[in-house]
Amino acid sequence: MIEKEEQPKKKTRREFLQQLGIVGIGSTLGGSAILAALNYDKSKTDSQRIRVLTAQNELHEINKDDLHKVLPSKHGKLTYLQQQGRDGLEGKRFVMVIDLSKCQNARKCMAACQNAHHLRPEQHHINVLKMEETENTPPYYMPKPCQHCDNPPCVAVCPVDATFKRQDGIVLIDNERCIGCRFCIAACPYSARIFNWAEPLNAQVEKDVEYNVELNVPQKKGTISKCLFSADQVRLGKLPYCVSACPNGVYYFGDENEDTVTNGTTKETVRFKKLLEDNGGYTLMPELGTKPRVYYLPPKGKTVPFNEQDREEASEHLHHS
């Protein structure tokens, strides 16, 4: 229409073409903008909009029609909980510090852990060991969770990517993927892994519970389990089960990136590097190159004596079988 109006005016051919071009482009752009706006309005009114929380904890508004329920598939697609469990938490590098001078073998950590992960009494994600290095050095109690190695031998040998290392340093297991070959048990120098030899404790009750990688519940027959650094708790900003349960202030847990760790008993937050520096922190068997994320403070200045009965068990490992 506009083009028609302009036509009668006398202009040079060059001017005419120039103006025609400007007007043409302008009208095209304007037209499409109006069209898009109309469509946008239409979509707003036509279908219901809902708000969803993404994995990154951001609120988004989307069409309800665009919502798809994610179902577990047998062909490699992961459920939301599986994917979330594999992704881990951005920007975090979780570490644990275990102060051996504080441990009195109260075993509240073991109980809390078994309770959280629905384990049998003989199944330990965390195990308090009675240790004795040499005949003349004093025995001590050593809680031993998975070391969440930065160079994990278990992850290397897994043939199906059922066990994996997350960006936040935690090593987890997907027991929907695990084939039960137990190569990871053979490869782990810390004996951190356990296997569901029989039907798990709550198999009947939890039949329909959706599998949570970060809790490894429900446990499954014929698959591996191990300490998860309580990835489900950590996601909520809480301390791991064992750490919170300890009555003796043995455990510190935190983020290496922030250089802070929090004691599970006193809730005191301290500098991670400083804690190691001041107390001679070390890792288990560093010579194996596994680079554990669990640090130990030596059993120096213990006030509680070592149980005499436990002494015998501690020295068993020392003597040759």
Partner: protein, 436 residues
């Protein structure tokens, strides 16, 4: 040239075994029945989980894995006899080639099943192919074992083609379907010079190719252990240690097969005393090499007695596993070597008995490699039931371990019934060459 009558005699002699006898039927029935009993045990394990075994969180690999290693080991005999001896011009081994190939194929194919019996979730076997990750030695193992089974099949089949033709032509009283199968499988072989040349070339190519593959399967199997940081497994010589051990088990297996096929199929003219003598010498040779590796494997850590190694070595030398360890080393290796030096001991019967000791010793040797290491982790085993600390296999586990052996016997017996166990064509050819 050989006289036609001689050729006919060889052909009819070697074809004689291919017929259904009552004793064969009884033998197969016995094997099948036993297999079903063992399969029942496996179904039980499938239902209940691996809890029916003696395995625990510490000794999590036991008889099944030992069995797997033993099966892969024994399957290397095909490569040793047919490829290594064949390529190096050891003509005397020709009549044994097919037997070796059958044993190799049976043990390699069944090894794959053995590993499945150890899986906690055999229903997820396909995950290995769907989600397989190349850095896991298990994926390497599956790859090379599959390749070895395929090549071993070809290695058995290609040189067999002329004999299949002979089976088709010469066996009287044959079921029409069987005759048709022979014809089909002989791929229109007519015995022309060109066809023979193709078969020769192909066989030679496979013989060359199978050597690195056979080395690969057992080296990779050894890496399942050596690639961990465990005492007793953390060794750089595990590859050759396993390979040489494999030759010992394989050679003893073929001695046993030779003896029974020779007696049952009346093959005294073809599997002669000389064969027993030579294979006995071969057994001494491979056993000596294996003994040398054993010396290295145990003497070096045994001399240093590092903290964690010491517990392991002590358990083997003087502790809980000492009886088994010394029985295997003496009865399965050292005494056989000494005995086999004497001519008299390389006669069929004494050699059979010695080979049986070596064979059984070979199985327990794998057990000694797998189990004690798992009982000696770096950190103490505490707060678990006693059966997690000391491994003792259950009856169910033993039955499931026996099943693959029965399956091997079934496969070997069946194959030996449908194809000539001593190659006909090659035996005739070799006789012709020696006459010329």
């Amino acid at each position: 040239m050989l006289e036609q009558s001689t050729k006919d005699k060889i052909t009819s002699d070697l074809l004689r075994s291919i017929r259904l006898t009552n004793s064969f039927k009884a033998w197969m029935a016995f094997l099948t029945l036993s297999l079903f009993v063992c399969l029942g045990a496996y179904v039980y394990q499938l239902n209940k989980g691996l809890v029916v075994t003696g395995l625990g969180d510490y000794v999590s690999w036991g008889m099944y894995i030992s069995n797997f290693v033993f099966f892969v080991a024994t399957s290397l005999i095909g490569m040793l006899i047919s490829a290594v001896l064949g390529l190096s011009g050891q003509k005397w081994a020709t009549p044994l080639a097919r037997m070796a190939e059958i044993i190799a194929l049976a043990f390699a194919a069944v090894a794959g099943l053995v590993i499945v019996s150890d899986m906690g979730r055999p229903d997820r076997l396909l995950n290995v192919f769907i989600h397989g990750r190349i850095q896991s030695p298990i994926v390497w193992d599956i790859t090379v074992v599959t390749v070895y089974v395929l090549i071993s099949t070809l290695f058995l089949y290609i040189p067999l083609i002329p004999d299949l033709k002979i089976c088709h032509d010469k066996i009287e009283k044959l079921h029409p379907i069987a005759r048709k199968a022979y014809k089909l499988l002989s791929l229109n072989y007519t015995g022309s010079h060109e066809q023979d040349l193709i078969i020769k070339k192909l066989t030679r190519a496979i013989a060359i190719f199978i050597i690195p593959v056979a080395f690969a399967i057992h080296t990779v199997t050894s890496w399942l252990f050596a690639n961990t940081s465990r005492v007793g497994w953390d060794s750089t010589i595990f590859g050759p240690y396993f390979i040489t051990g494999a030759f010992v088990s394989g050679t003893s297996a073929i001695v046993i097969a030779m003896y029974f096929f020779r007696t049952n199929y009346k093959l005294q003219e073809y599997i002669t005393l000389e064969h027993f003598d030579k294979i006995g010498k071969l057994l001494v040779l491979v056993s000596l090499v294996y003994l040398y590796f054993n010396l290295n494997e145990y003497m070096v850590p045994g001399y240093k007695m590092k903290k964690f190694d010491a517990r392991h070595i002590n358990a083997l030398f003087t502790g809980a596993h000492a009886f088994l360890f010394w029985s295997v080393q003496l009865g399965g290796l050292i005494i056989p070597i000494i005995l086999l030096i004497f001519n008299k001991m390389r006669k069929p019967l004494p050699l059979l008995i010695i080979a049986c000791c070596v064979f059984v010793g070979g199985w327990f040797k794998r057990y000694i490699i797998v189990v004690p290491t798992m009982e000696h982790p770096y950190l103490p085993i505490q707060n678990v039931p006693l059966n997690f600390k000391v491994y003792s296999p259950t009856l169910v586990e033993i039955l499931i371990t026996i099943a693959p052996m029965i399956l091997v016997l079934l496969i070997v017996s069946t194959l030996a019934k449908i194809i000539p166990i001593v190659p006909i064509q090659e035996t005739i050819e070799e006789l012709e060459e020696s006459h010329d």
